[in-house]
C-alpha cells in the first residue's frame, strides 16, 4: 500500500453557488461579479463573498455611485442570487435598474455609439502600423477561459416589472427601509443579520445606496464607522454574503469625518474606491474629453491572501509589470466602463500645439520641408 495521501484542498469544502467561481488567487475564496466586467478586473476577478466594498462618489451633480449599485443589483437578480437593498425608496431603486437588451448578443463587439465615434475620428496611419492590435484601455466581458461571468447589461434597457415581482414573491429581493422611524444602524445590522441567517444555500448581495444620506438621520462619523466595521465583521462570519455600499456625496469627501476620513472608511471595510466625476470641474472634462471621472483605489479585498488578488491579476491596474496605471471611467449610452487613463495621441490637449516663434521659423524651414516629403511618401 502506498504511503502517499492525496492532500485535501479547500476547493472540495467550498459550496457551489450560482454565478460564482473560485478566485484565481486562492481556492478558499469564491468571487461573484459586480455587474461591470472592468470593475471585476480591478477587483482581481470579482467581489469575493464575505467582503464589503464601499464606493465614494463625492460629486453632487451626478450619481455614479448609485449607478454602480444598480449594476450590482441587476447582476444579482439575473444570476438568481438573493438581494437585500437597504435605504430609502428601495422598491423604486430596484425598479429602475438596467437590464439585458432583448437584441443583445453575448460577446457582441463594441457599441454602435463607439463605432460611429471611431469612424469619424479615423485617421490614416502608416501601412507598417496598420496590422498592429488596436490599443485597448479596458477589458472584455469574457474571462480567460472564455466563460461569461458578468452579464451584458445595457443602460438603455430597464428591468421588466414581472421579473421584480417574481423575485419579490419568491423572497429573492428584500427591502430594509432605513428611513423608517426608529430604525437605528444597529437595528439595520440586525435586519441584515437575519437575512444572512435565513438561507445559506444562495449567496446574498447586500446593497446600500446612499449610506449617510438624510434618510439615515443624523449619522456621525463614529456611527458610520461602527456600522461599516460591524457589517464587515458580520460578513466575515457568513461566507455566502457580500455587500456593496455607496456613500452619499456629501460624506464622500476626505474632509467630512475629520482628518483622514477616507482612510478610516478604507480600514472599516474590505475595499474602498472613490469615483470622482468631472461634472463639477469643467477644466478636467476638457483635459480628458473621453472620460467622465477619475477612479482612485484606497483598498481592495484580500479575504484569504496577504495582498489583494487584484495586484497580480488585474489587467487594468497593471501592477504585474510595473507601477500602477491611472484609472478613469466613462459612461456611454449603453454601459459604464472603467478603463486606464491616458493622454490622447497628441499628448494632451490641442493647446499644446503652440505656434512656433518667428525667429525659430527660419531655422526649422528645411526640417519642415523634409517632413512633408516624408509624409507624402508614406501616405
Amino acid at each position: 500500500m502506498t504511503s502517499f495521501k492525496r492532500k485535501a484542498t479547500g476547493r472540495a469544502t467550498l459550496p457551489s453557488y450560482p454565478r460564482t467561481r473560485i478566485s484565481p488567487a486562492s481556492n478558499l475564496t469564491l468571487i461573484t461579479s459586480t455587474g461591470i466586467s472592468s470593475l471585476d478586473d480591478i477587483l482581481g476577478g470579482g467581489l469575493p463573498l464575505s467582503c464589503s466594498l464601499v464606493f465614494a462618489a463625492p460629486d453632487v451633480h451626478s450619481s455614479y455611485g448609485e449607478l454602480v449599485q444598480k449594476y450590482f443589483v441587476a447582476q444579482g437578480l439575473a444570476s438568481g442570487q438573493r438581494i437585500c437593498v437597504v435605504g430609502q425608496n428601495t422598491a423604486d431603486f430596484v425598479g429602475d435598474i438596467m437590464w439585458i437588451s432583448k437584441s443583445q448578443v453575448w460577446n457582441a463587439p463594441e457599441s454602435e455609439e463607439e463605432d460611429e465615434g471611431d469612424a469619424s475620428q479615423k485617421v490614416k496611419i502608416a501601412w507598417r502600423y496598420e496590422k498592429m492590435k488596436q490599443f485597448k484601455t479596458t477589458v472584455g466581458d469574457m474571462n480567460q477561459n472564455g466563460e461569461s461571468f458578468c452579464l451584458p447589461f445595457e443602460l438603455s434597457s430597464r428591468v421588466p416589472r414581472e421579473v421584480i415581482e417574481e423575485a419579490v414573491d419568491k423572497k429573492m429581493v428584500q427591502f430594509v427601509d432605513s428611513g423608517r422611524e426608529g430604525l437605528s444602524t444597529s437595528r439595520v445590522l440586525g435586519e441584515i443579520s437575519k437575512e444572512l441567517e435565513r438561507d445559506t444555500t444562495v449567496p446574498l448581495r447586500i446593497c446600500i445606496p446612499g449610506l449617510g444620506s438624510a434618510a439615515w438621520g443624523n449619522l456621525t462619523g463614529q456611527g458610520m464607522l461602527y456600522f461599516l466595521h460591524s457589517l464587515k465583521s458580520l460578513l466575515h462570519k457568513h461566507g455566502h454574503g457580500c455587500a456593496s455600499i455607496s456613500l452619499a456625496p456629501e460624506i464622500s469627501t476626505s474632509g467630512w469625518g475629520g482628518a483622514g476620513w477616507m482612510e478610516k472608511v478604507g480600514w472599516a471595510t474590505d475595499g474602498a474606491v472613490t469615483i470622482s466625476a468631472f461634472t463639477a470641474n469643467p477644466a478636467l472634462s476638457s483635459i480628458f474629453p473621453g472620460h467622465h471621472g477619475l477612479v482612485e483605489i484606497h483598498r481592495l479585498p484580500a479575504p484569504h491572501t496577504q495582498s489583494p488578488p487584484s495586484d497580480r491579476f488585474s489587467t487594468l491596474r497593471g501592477l504585474g509589470t510595473s507601477g500602477e496605471n491611472n484609472l478613469a471611467f466613462k459612461c456611454t449610452r449603453k454601459r459604464l466602463v472603467f478603463e486606464t487613463l491616458h493622454l490622447d495621441v497628441e499628448g494632451g490637449t490641442s493647446e499644446r500645439r503652440t505656434p512656433a516663434a518667428a525667429a525659430a521659423k527660419k531655422t526649422t524651414t528645411t526640417t519642415t520641408k523634409r517632413r512633408v516629403v516624408f509624409e507624402d511618401n508614406e501616405f
Binding site: 486562492s26 478558499l28 464575505s50 444597529s186 462619523g221 463614529q222 464607522l225 461602527y226 466595521h229 460591524s230 464587515k232 465583521s233 466575515h236 462570519k237 461566507g239 482628518a259 483622514g260 482612510e263 478610516k264 478604507g266 480600514w267 472599516a268 484606497h298 483598498r299 479575504p303 484569504h304 491572501t305 496577504q306 495582498s307 495586484d311 501592477l319 504585474g320 509589470t321 510595473s322 507601477g323 500602477e324
Partner: protein, 240 residues
C-alpha cells in the same frame, strides 16, 4: 532561538508598536510573528484580540505557512477573541474593556511557556467612539499584565494622517519598547515593492537595545503568497 520579528533582531518580552497605512497594511508582520511563535517556541501560548479580522483569514494565512491554527486552538496554545461582538454601543464600554483585560490575564496565568498577545487594531476602537482616556487605561493595564508575565505584546495602530501624530499614537509611543513603522512608497504602488519598514525606539527602550533601522535606510519588502521578501532599498527585482 530565532527572533520573533525578522528582519529585526528584537528580543521576546517587549511591547512592540506597529504602525501602518492603508496603502501598506502590516498584517503580514502579525501573521508571521504568530507563525514563528507557535512553531519555534516550546510550549507556546498566544492570544489574539482581533478587532478587524475574522478567524477565517488568520487560519487561511497560517495554512500557507503550514500551520493549522484550529489544531492550536484545540490544544490550548492559541486563543482567539473577536473583540467587536463583545462591545455593543449600548453596553458599558469601560466594562467591556475590563472583560478583555481579564481574558488576557487568564491566558497569561495559564501560560506554561513564552506568551504572545496580539491586539490587531487599536485604532478602530478609537474611531468607533471609545474615549481616549478609557483606551489609554486599557493599554496601560494590558502592558502591565504582559510585562509582569514577561509576555510579548504587539499592538497595531493605523496612521491616517502621516506627518501629524494623533493623541493615541503619542500615548502608544510612551508605553512601547520599539516601534516598527510600515510605510508605502511615496512614489505610489509598485508591483516590485509593496512597502518599506523601519525600526524606531519607543520610550521604554533599554540602553543596550538592538540596532535600529531609521527611515532613510528602511528595509523594503515585496509581499508574496507565502510571506514577505525583504531587501535593501534600491535592490528590488525591478531595479536590478
Amino acid at each position: 532561538m530565532p527572533g520573533l520579528f525578522p528582519p529585526f533582531d528584537l528580543p521576546d518580552g517587549i511591547v512592540l508598536l506597529i504602525t501602518d497605512q492603508l496603502a501598506a497594511p502590516a498584517d503580514f508582520i502579525l501573521h508571521r510573528t504568530l507563525a514563528i511563535h507557535l512553531r519555534e517556541r516550546r510550549k507556546p501560548s498566544s492570544l489574539i484580540l482581533s478587532v478587524s479580522e475574522g478567524f477565517g483569514r488568520w487560519k487561511a494565512l497560517a495554512a500557507k505557512s503550514n500551520l493549522n491554527l484550529a489544531h492550536h486552538v484545540d490544544a490550548g496554545s492559541l486563543e482567539f477573541v473577536d473583540v467587536l461582538p463583545e462591545i455593543q454601543p449600548t453596553a458599558d464600554r469601560r466594562e467591556s474593556l475590563r472583560i478583555l483585560i481579564k481574558r488576557v490575564q487568564v491566558c497569561l496565568d495559564r501560560a506554561a511557556g513564552p506568551a504572545l498577545i496580539i491586539l490587531d487594531d487599536i485604532s478602530a476602537l478609537d474611531w468607533i467612539g471609545f474615549p481616549l482616556l478609557d483606551l489609554s487605561r486599557f493599554l496601560r493595564a494590558l502592558r502591565a499584565a504582559c510585562l509582569k508575565a514577561n509576555a510579548t505584546l504587539i499592538i497595531r495602530h493605523h496612521i491616517v494622517t502621516p506627518g501629524e501624530a494623533d493623541e493615541l499614537f503619542r500615548h502608544l509611543l510612551q508605553i512601547s519598547t520599539y516601534h516598527v513603522e510600515d510605510r508605502p512608497l511615496s512614489s505610489g504602488r509598485s508591483g516590485d515593492v509593496s512597502g518599506e519598514i523601519s525600526l524606531h525606539p519607543g520610550f521604554s527602550v533599554p540602553s543596550d537595545g538592538v540596532k535600529l533601522n531609521p527611515r532613510n535606510i528602511a528595509t523594503q519588502y515585496r509581499l508574496a503568497d507565502t510571506g514577505p521578501e525583504f531587501f535593501a532599498k534600491g535592490t528590488s527585482g525591478g531595479v536590478l
